[in-house]
């Protein structure tokens, strides 16, 4: 079999807008890489190692996610299940947990498997209630049967917070892959997920860049001292504009729906970032692990996504999709 022909046929079967979007991301990363190379040459006394490491990690993340999106819903659901697993493992490793809770930890991973099983089986209603209702009740019951009542309510809340953010909320991104073709998607279901990831990460980077360039007034000094009003507003504006212009290319959004997503999504990204910073500060760590060189842990990278994914999903369901 001819490999070139196979690759060509594989790419030809993809929505052109998705390939265009991925090419755009590759171009953006190349420009970022070129700028850092230039900076290194111009200012040899400064250390740009972390920045270079960060961009190298972006290449790896983009390659893995783009590969999953192009391969289809099975690969994407598996990829998000792995992201959720790594995020939940980081969360449960850092959160205060009691020694008696080992069976509850194992049960939390089982809940992850079940939740992603519902996505794979396309059981939307089961997914919606499984973690917020049944795991919410079942896990504390299991903890009660384990017999340790010291710090019970705090631990039950810790488990639930971890499962909702790391599994339930991130899972919505994967569930978008189950949107049927009958929903008239301009870049396929993968285009919906691509756009969510693009704008969420673009918002993170834009807030960081605007903050570095213009940042003066601190916005949440006790929680996240590096965040400024200038960074927040600059990121909001830039991401809002990106959503306004690129939204119709990748999603069925238009008019009012597009406007609401453009205004609300950057806010959700900021909220996720700050809220997870409060959790990390409470636990007493800066990064949740060293899984992604230059970025920290999976939860450090996915913190804003735990807020934007459910919001994006529900606004999409409200304004543009018949399936959900």
């Amino acid at each position: 079999m001819d490999i070139v022909a196979t690759v060509r046929a594989f790419l030809a079967a993809q929505p052109p807008a998705l390939l265009l979007g991925l090419a755009g991301v590759v171009a953006l990363l190349s420009v970022a890489g070129a700028i850092v190379t230039l900076l290194t040459a111009l200012k040899p006394d400064k250390d740009y190692r972390e920045l270079r490491q960060r961009i190298a990690s972006w290449w790896v993340m983009v390659a893995l996610l783009a590969g999953a999106l192009l391969l289809g819903w099975q690969a994407t659901v598996l990829a998000f299940a792995l992201i959720s697993f790594m995020a939940l493992r980081e969360f449960l490793s850092l959160a205060p947990i009691r020694k008696e809770d080992r069976p509850a930890i194992l049960a939390a991973y089982l809940a992850l498997v079940a939740a992603y099983g519902f996505i794979a089986a396309d059981k939307y209603m089961f997914y919606l209630v499984f973690i917020p209702v049944w795991t919410f009740l079942g896990l504390p019951f299991l903890m009660a049967m384990l017999g340790q009542t010291r710090g019970f309510l705090t631990t039950a809340a810790t488990f639930h917070w971890g499962l909702v953010t790391c599994v339930y909320n991130l899972g919505f991104a994967a569930f978008l892959m189950r949107t049927p073709a009958s929903d008239r998607l301009p870049a396929g279901a993968a285009g919906l997920v691509f756009f969510l990831l693009l704008v969420t990460e673009f918002n993170d980077v834009a807030q960081y860049v605007f903050g570095k360039l213009l940042g003066r007034r601190k916005i949440a000094p006790t929680v996240s001292p590096n965040k400024t009003w200038e960074g927040f507003l600059g990121g909001w504006l830039a991401t809002g504009l990106l959503i306004g212009f690129a939204g119709p290319v990748f999603t069925p959004l238009a008019g009012q729906g597009l406007l609401v997503v453009a205004v609300a999504l950057p806010l959700a990204g900021f909220a996720g970032d700050v809220t997870m910073s409060a959790v990390k500060r409470d636990i007493g760590v800066k990064d949740t692990s060293h899984a992604i060189p230059g970025h920290g842990g999976v939860l450090d990278r996915a913190d804003s996504l735990t807020f934007t994914a459910p919001l994006y999903f529900h606004l999409m369901a409200l304004f543009a999709l018949d399936r959900f």
């Binding site: 697993f85 790594m86 490793s93 009691r98 194992l106 991973y109 760590v285 692990s289 060293h290």
Partner: protein
């Protein structure tokens, strides 16, 4: 048999360690890549051995040999075969220590053959929270092989993944902190004190373990 061990370590032990612990290594560049060399780590779980076999690069992993208690790991033929040929243990008859028999002879032979020998100076698995009393065997090995660097390694959290007495592991992140290698300076007591201080200094840099 060497190729079987290599394949199992790279294709099974490594993914398993990543799945169970995330294998979050700090200071990987300080790991020795050729022997004779000694790794001295704290011990709270069988996961410690799995992790230390998993974090070495492929070109060095065939040389890594954990020192393990003969009374425990060679107690029956199946576990014994697995311990010798897959884990690659250097058996130490710890029950015969002090009987006049040279229990460290297999470890010295491994070092003489150019292996990277992993020792758990606590001698047994602890509770995972604190560093127990250190046994002096590692100083005797360092004295016998002054050219072998002794690299202190602190493993944080393995005792939560699989505590002593449990059989089902629970995936939780472990940090592996690799310290600067110590050189033999001629005095066993002083060497053990330096090793203990180095391990505790690494422990201080580890992410907090908040379980009670």
């Amino acid at each position: 048999m060497g190729w079987l061990r290599f394949l199992l370590l790279v294709l099974a032990a490594r993914p398993l360690a990543l799945f169970l612990t995330g294998a979050d290594v700090v200071g990987r560049e300080r790991l020795p890549l050729k022997g004779p060399a000694i790794i001295a780590a704290n011990h709270a779980s069988h996961v410690d051995t799995l992790l230390l076999l998993a974090i070495f690069p492929s070109r060095a992993v065939a040389r890594v040999r954990p020192v393990a208690a003969a009374d425990y790991f060679l107690r029956d033929p199946v576990i014994g075969w697995f311990s010798r040929h897959v884990i690659g243990i250097v058996p130490v008859a710890r029950l015969k220590a002090g009987s006049g028999e040279d229990v460290l002879a297999p470890a010295r032979a491994a070092l003489a053959a150019g292996d990277i020998v992993v020792v758990f100076p606590e001698g047994t698995r602890g509770d995972g929270d604190d560093l127990g009393q250190l046994k002096g065997g590692v100083a005797r090995l360092a004295q016998a092989f002054p050219e072998a660097p002794v690299t202190p390694v602190w493993i944080q959290g393995a005792g939560r993944v699989l505590p002593k007495g449990e059989t089902i592991p629970a995936p939780l992140n472990c940090a592996v902190l690799v310290g600067e290698p110590l050189d033999w300076t001629g005095d066993r007591a002083a060497f053990m004190a330096r090793l203990r201080a180095a391990l505790l200094a690494l422990k201080d840099q580890a992410p907090p373990l908040r379980w009670s």
